[in-house]
């Protein structure tokens, strides 16, 4: 305990901002729901944790891993206070009446791809017709569905289509279960599964990678969100802070963690590695956890260092990008109507960054 007090005292000295005046009080416990098991995808939050950025904001942050569920459900029901997820997940949840609110956009570019073997001679999305595509359930299938819908293809994921043109195969995230024997195309994140497929023995020159963003499907991924209830809370968990203030502090510390992580990748990887068990490993020839996470950190940095981040506005949801995402989802019929204005709360980011 003494050590912690000393540490927070030091940090208070090092970062004398107005907010720190209150950190002498008991830190506020905040549960942040990650979208996955611990890995470099969340390096920014782990760095913020390890470097004491959260503590400096007067927050005691628990980073929760998740399995088959959507983070939306744990946040909406109050099992977690904040969460990270993808924008389609958030907007479809709102459409179903779940009051969740976007507060910060961490990744500015989509890392979603569909991967095929070059030898399968698939060169453009229209070629997917009649093929078998491996997809992940739990709201992770939307980018692929959007890509296929854009090219007039339907999938068996739709509970209203009886004769789909593409056979969707769901599998529990491990590409080796289905690829390349059982599906022609498989979902892969640039920062994770692509390397796992390489690990299966298919080097990059044997693969044809369809990046969703190259085909105009740039659905934004990792963002931070919370529930309307938390934002409206005048006294978050009896801490004396408003929910919005807590959100701003969390976002501020997270952005700081992310900025540090993408600048010091090796150090970030070393912080992440002890936190994950088997989930940090790649597969096959690329199974070494450190190698896989180093590579993941590099790819993640590309998704973070794009768009607004390059203009010094990390965490900002570019309204133009948001509009484009909504328009795309509406075109595809995934969203039935425009989300209401309170789907995104810009004031949290403004308070966190001090920018307009």
């Amino acid at each position: 305990m003494k050590k912690l007090a000393l540490l927070s005292a030091l940090l208070t000295l090092a970062l004398p901002t107005a907010a720190q005046a209150q950190t002498a009080a008991k830190p506020v416990t905040v549960r942040l729901q990650l979208k996955w098991f611990p890995q470099a995808q969340f390096a920014g939050y782990f760095v913020a944790q390890a470097k004491g950025y959260f503590k400096a904001e007067g927050l005691d942050v628990q980073l929760l891993p998740i399995g088959d569920q959507s983070p939306i459900q744990t946040v909406a029901t109050g099992a977690a206070d904040f969460g990270t997820t993808w924008i389609t997940d958030l907007l479809t949840a709102r459409q179903q009446g779940i009051p969740v609110v976007h507060i910060a956009q961490m990744f500015q570019k989509s890392g979603f791809t569909l991967v095929a073997l070059k030898s399968s001679n698939l060169t453009k999305p229209a070629d997917f017709k009649g093929k078998r595509v491996g997809l992940w359930p739990s709201g992770n299938e939307y980018p692929a569905v959007a890509l296929m819908k854009k090219y007039g293809l339907t999938t068996s994921l739709d509970s209203t289509v009886a004769n789909p043109s593409v056979q969707a195969v769901t599998y529990p995230f491990d590409p080796s279960i289905v690829f390349p024997d059982k599906v022609d195309l498989v979902s892969a994140m640039t920062y994770n599964e692509v390397d796992q497929i390489v690990g299966l023995g298919y080097s990059a020159d044997k693969l044809k990678i369809f990046r969703a963003s190259d085909y105009g499907i740039n659905l934004l991924e990792d963002l931070m969100f919370t529930s309307q209830k938390v934002l409206d809370d005048k006294n978050f968990k009896g801490s004396g802070l408003s929910g919005k203030e807590v959100a701003a502090r969390l976002v501020r510390a997270s952005i700081k963690g992310w900025d540090y992580a993408v600048k010091h990748k090796a150090e970030a990887v070393n912080i992440v590695l002890p936190l994950c068990g088997n989930t940090c490993k790649g597969s096959g020839t690329r199974s070494d956890a450190k190698a896989h996470q180093t590579w993941q950190m590099n790819e993640i940095a590309k998704l973070y260092n794009a768009g607004p981040t390059l203009q010094g506005r990390a965490g900002y949801l570019d309204p133009a990008a948001y509009k484009a995402n909504v328009a795309l989802l509406r075109d595809l019929g995934i969203l039935k109507a425009d989300p209401s204005a309170d789907a995104v709360n810009y004031s949290v980011w403004q308070e966190a960054s001090g920018k307009k």
Partner: protein, 295 residues
């Protein structure tokens, strides 16, 4: 759902030799099956241009990174990496203990709730008529599918970690236990009930001294049936909710990490856990019902 307790057959030491023989046959089948299954997989991978670091399909069969059936060496190293040291957070024995604990707590909860419900069912005819058909029907419903949703709902009330998994295990074990208990509470025959009456026993005494003891064998029989289902419940709950330990969490993790060998190892631990749980209940049964004259 009449699952009357059956007397346990006498153990025979002479089972050892036949069991060994069957095990030997299984091993003899395993070896060519493993080679055949893996070689097929390897051949397809090689044909699609994968670089596996080995020459022919047969050579690759024992060293595939993602084998269909692991080779003996892979089993050995998989077991070692997941079992040593046994109580580390990432090792299977520790996680099996966590899952086993959740399941046992769940079974205890289920017994308590089952007893209460069974008492109501036996005492009130209108309650029985109103609910019993649905209790029986509920056993045919895939309640496991509801486990994730239930865990989310419990999380809302700040119930997290160990307890929600036990609740889900209880939820799954609860119906068979309740129905077994109803049978048990009704098992004393009219003669015995008459005897209690001639002793001027109060209804509460009849219940506590005759019906409850008479229902114990039924309780244990249904607990043994329910144990595996409850174990499935706690593992599914671990997979689908926030969890930091347990076999389900390992299963989810390793399936994400493409570690096929680990999945096999965890399956064997899961099987062993199921067997141990049933054996534990059997042991408890013998301790609790020792006073019963062996029929």
């Amino acid at each position: 759902m009449t699952t009357a307790p059956t007397p346990r057959p006498a153990r025979r030491a002479s089972n050892v030799l036949p069991m060994l023989a069957v095990a030997l046959v299984a091993v003899l089948i395993y070896w060519p099956l493993m080679l055949w299954a893996n070689a097929g997989q390897a051949a397809r991978s090689l044909a699609s241009g994968a670089d596996l670091g080995c020459g022919t399909a047969l050579q690759c069969a024992t060293q595939l990174r993602n084998p269909v059936i692991p080779a003996p060496g892979q089993f050995a190293s998989g077991f070692q990496s997941l079992s040593v040291p046994p109580l580390a957070a990432t090792s299977a024995p520790y996680n099996a203990l966590v899952t086993g604990g959740e399941t046992l707590l769940g079974l205890a909860l289920a017994s308590l709730l089952g007893l209460i419900l069974a008492t109501l069912l036996v005492r009130s005819r209108s309650f029985e008529r109103a609910t019993l058909p649905w209790l029986v029907a509920s056993q045919t419903v895939p309640i496991v599918a509801l486990a994730p949703m239930l865990a989310v709902l419990l999380g809302q009330f700040g119930v997290q970690g160990f307890f929600p998994k036990a609740v889900i295990a209880a939820y799954i074990a609860f119906f068979p236990v309740a129905i077994g208990m109803v049978q048990g509470l009704r098992s004393p025959d009219p003669l015995q009930l008459d005897l209690m009456r001639t002793y001027r026993a109060s209804p509460a005494q009849t219940f506590g001294l005759l019906q409850i003891p008479a229902s114990l064998p039924y309780l244990f029989t249904s607990l043994k049936v329910a144990a595996t289902a409850a174990l499935v419940g706690s593992i599914v709950a671990e997979i689908s909710t926030i969890s930091f330990s347990g076999l389900g969490k390992m299963l989810a993790e390793n399936s994400r990490a493409s570690d096929t060998v680990a999945l096999w190892v965890i399956m064997i631990y899961g099987a062993a856990l199921g067997i141990v749980l049933v054996a534990l209940i059997g042991l408890l049964e013998r301790l609790v019902t020792r006073w019963r004259p062996s029929a």
